[in-house]
Point group: C2
Chain length 156, copies 2
Amino acid sequence: MISADTLMQLAIDAAKQGITRGQSPFGCAIAIGERVITATHNHVLAHTDITAHAEIHALRLACKEENSIFLENAHVAATCEPCPMCMAALHWARVDTVYYGASISDAEKAGFNELNVPAQQLLQLGNSPVKLIKNIRQEDCKALFTEWRHNTPMPY
Amino acid sequence: MISADTLMQLAIDAAKQGITRGQSPFGCAIAIGERVITATHNHVLAHTDITAHAEIHALRLACKEENSIFLENAHVAATCEPCPMCMAALHWARVDTVYYGASISDAEKAGFNELNVPAQQLLQLGNSPVKLIKNIRQEDCKALFTEWRHNTPMPY
């Protein structure tokens, strides 16, 4: 199985690509076993779609790729703790494990307006079986916010 | 401004159309003032996209239609209480008010596997300003589940 650190590197690389394209600094990668299905970044501005957070966009791509609405056994790396929209979507997709780097609190400190509901709390409230593992490459993920700010004249 | 009942009728009509197309029995309509922007149904199976709940699909269409990621002043009717994915997405879109008919509990009784986090609880936890109004055409919305079951040989 691909390691959490390796999968997160793909998510970080995707987020960096998004930054160069003027997108928000969030990335997500999805794998099943050793097989990487997708690695992509937030497309909210690119697609004029408020729902196109990195995780949602990655799930859409992965569903198409697998020709399935369920991604059982999938491992997911998100550069930032999933918001409730993304965490619930990952639950609906029945993924096995979600790794994340930066926290919602880190994103808030970087100026992002967050729905401050911890992903773990949402899973517990909803009695979800999805496993959630925090602090994977956290500093590298937090550095995306700095990189984004240096590349974005008008914070958005 | 369009009334809650009228907007919900559009969501119900969209859900009925979805049922005839073999989709899950959920509809959503979005208006700004008197202007209806979109009315659509769940497209999860049609698009092989686990994220394409009625509300998410409606938000995507509305963002495209308005050429904006924000839908301030929008009123939204959802035939069923939004799940955390959809409720958070509606928050991100900055809609003004969300009406819903059937409850998550009604959906569970109809056999749908739900993330049992009440939409109002999510809004409170996240300190969201979105206004949420329940019990709009609740019986008509619950009847969609029965209609769907009669039209769907294999419950899904």
